[in-house]
Symmetry: C2
Subunit: 417 residues, 2 copies
């Protein structure tokens, strides 16, 4: 069978299975999730052996250390998969919730019911644990899933797939409710993202290159996350103690994450009061500073270029700009932000209110570190990704982001006149 | 200036204006809407003259009667535009609403704020009143708009554009908040749907060909509505009086609308009791019937082919199928429905509940005519279209469908540890 025919078969099976998953009770879905955890535990040795083979192959193919690191299933990441399944089983089921039910003058009663999207396609790179994370969230939200992992994790993903199939079967759900693509042919991705008849939404997880390519070629809606160029703006009405703690935390808590601050904006009125102290602390942590002219008049920093303002460093590098007022900070954000997360530090009520309303990012914060932009921190339980798109779901995407709402209408023989 | 440069300029202006519209108060937006109504009224003669020129040109170009009919601004449709503006001004402003605010264990307070999408592109065909409908909904929901009407309505749309610009200026909003494309060059559409940097969503309104073309080529999300192949299923536990009224109303209230029933599914247990009576009533209304074998054993009807089940007639034609049970009805719907609207007629609690939960359409009804699937009937106030997509907005799309939600976080100097 060629790739096109194979993917069409996978798609058709997913579409069929999606009806069964959508109709499954919360109990069925939870039983399946726990059964997958049991199956993983029972197959631990087999899974670890498959992962060792992937790692061996990866080393032979000259994969770099970071990639091998992501590929490895450690005892901790194995426990993490089991714990994740149990946590998702414990989350409330979003499906079927009816809201906003009201009577209309015609006599009909109208409301909205939360329902699964249908078939979700997930395209990801080397981490095999994404297979479990993504499959569990899609299953709990009533969707069928097609997973396409990285070729370097092929054996690990296939071993996980067998455990998922066992769990589904035990709960009486079709094994095709979660399908892992059984070919490393890259053409499979091209097919997956151009089958709107079988796939309702694509969630790519990986580097910017992968996501840009998928967004460009997809004929199916994509829930995507490109850059995380996050800003903290320290207002002249800020409590400088809070500002210091937030500016340090947002940059240095972790460097390689999308919700880390990449640019610090400081009101001219407090720049001299706070920048020297921040520069010392960043220096101690080994953070390289790049600044505008006014910044460099106060502290030692390299010249920040136009490119710096538009860069997601994902590294111990920070660009700093001194601004005249909040309006200039908001202009800077409107121009350079990737729409992920921005935070203002201020004690001023009116400015906080204005910043919240007018900054157009998926998370907007007052007096909090950008590092809080995260599904667990927001109480979603888990996230399938963080969306920097504007339609459907913005910010951390959990179970609710994998559903939509349909209208339900109750009548008593009502007709339109 | 070539089309590409012109459209980039329009896009850039819209993106800039979107910040001002998003920041405008509810009062500003309402004042602008009412000022547009005043400007229309003051320019009535000029507008009617422009429309007469379009009509004259249309006749010379041999446009058919239906197209000329849609193109004409009648006294009634003129009043309709004024009334629409006043109604939209009277609707509640969806922007800024904060919901689901709660404290997290970390101490931060997290919620969601409803916000405009940004820039909405509307592509439509001959009706000039869509210019006002679309512009008013987009403005009230805080979005900047780029409108591309049919070339046959060019003069009418330009005259309306001048009134909109006057209204916006009077309320202190940028005139570029609503831009009507000033070229009939078809390449402008190609540009509009491939500028994700300037346009956040496209809403096409028109025939299926237009919408398919736009969906295929767009690099911007599209809120679209393809077919309306709507079903009514008459269960054997139906109240046959209600079933009769609903089946007649759903088909014959209006023929050319997307929420009209195209296929009637009848449980075998009541087919003989209800089909003859329905056949008489449909006959009196001039509705042509096409049926499956079992239908044709009971009433006179042409043979319904595979193609019939998959056709949106938009005409006095109805296909009828006798089914063995509700499961078969739901299988038929899953296979042939366009996901617009389906209704079950039954007095059975369990079946009503199951149909509601499991039928995957944008509106699912119990004991009501499919004709109710409409923004006004649902209380949205007005609709920009009906979405048969699954992500973002399903069913009638009103002000809320032109917005999304961002996360807002309140802290008191909180950092992540």
């Amino acid at each position: 069978m060629n790739v096109q025919a194979y993917m069409a078969q996978v798609g058709r099976q997913a579409r069929e299975a999606s009806r069964a998953v959508a109709a499954a009770t919360t109990g069925d879905k939870n039983r399946a999730l726990l059964a997958v955890a049991d199956a993983l535990q029972a197959s631990r040795a087999e899974l670890m052996a498959a992962n060792a083979e992937d790692l061996q192959q990866g080393r032979e193919n000259g994969l770099d250390a970071a990639l091998l690191d992501r590929l490895e299933i450690t005892p901790a990441s194995f426990e993490g998969m089991l714990e994740g399944l149990r946590q998702v089983a414990a989350l409330p089921d979003p499906c079927g919730a009816i809201t906003d039910m009201s009577y209309r003058p015609s006599g009909i009663q109208v409301g909205k019911m939360r329902v699964p999207l249908g078939v979700v396609g997930i395209i990801y790179e080397s981490r095999p644990n994404v297979t479990i994370d993504a499959a569990s969230l899609c299953l709990k939200s009533g969707n069928a899933t097609i997973l396409r992992g990285g070729s370097e994790a092929f054996r690990s993903n296939q071993a996980i797939a067998r455990c998922i199939a066992r769990g589904l079967a035990e709960a009486g759900l079709p094994e095709t409710a979660v399908q892992i693509i059984e070919t490393t042919d890259r053409a499979a991705v091209g097919e997956l993202i151009t089958m709107p008849e079988f796939v309702d939404v694509i969630v790519p997880r990986g580097g910017k290159g992968l996501i840009e390519r998928i967004s460009r070629d997809a004929r199916v809606p994509v829930i995507k996350h490109l850059d995380g160029i996050c800003h903290v703006y320290i207002d002249d009405k800020a409590d400088l103690e809070k500002a210091f703690e937030i500016a340090i935390n947002a940059k240095t808590h972790r460097y390689g994450v999308c919700n880390a601050m990449e640019t610090l904006l400081v009101h001219a009125g407090v720049a001299e009061a706070i920048l020297p102290r921040l520069a010392v602390a960043y220096g101690e942590k080994g953070v390289e500073l790049r600044g505008c002219e006014r910044t460099r008049a106060i502290i030692a920093a390299a010249v920040a270029t136009e490119e710096d303002w538009a860069t997601e460093y994902l590294a111990p590098v920070l660009s700093i700009r001194v601004v005249e007022d909040m309006a200039q900070a908001m202009d800077h954000i409107a121009r350079y932000s990737s729409g992920h997360t921005e935070s203002i530090v201020t004690e001023d009520y009116t400015r906080a209110r204005r910043f919240l309303a007018q900054v157009d990012s998926s998370s907007v914060m007052v007096n909090a570190s950008t590092r809080f932009a995260d599904g667990f921190e927001y109480g979603l339980g888990a996230e399938i990704g963080i969306s920097t798109d504007k339609i459907h779901a913005r910010g951390p995407v959990g179970l609710e982001g994998l559903t939509s709402q349909k209208y339900v209408v109750f009548g008593d023989g009502h007709i339109r006149t």
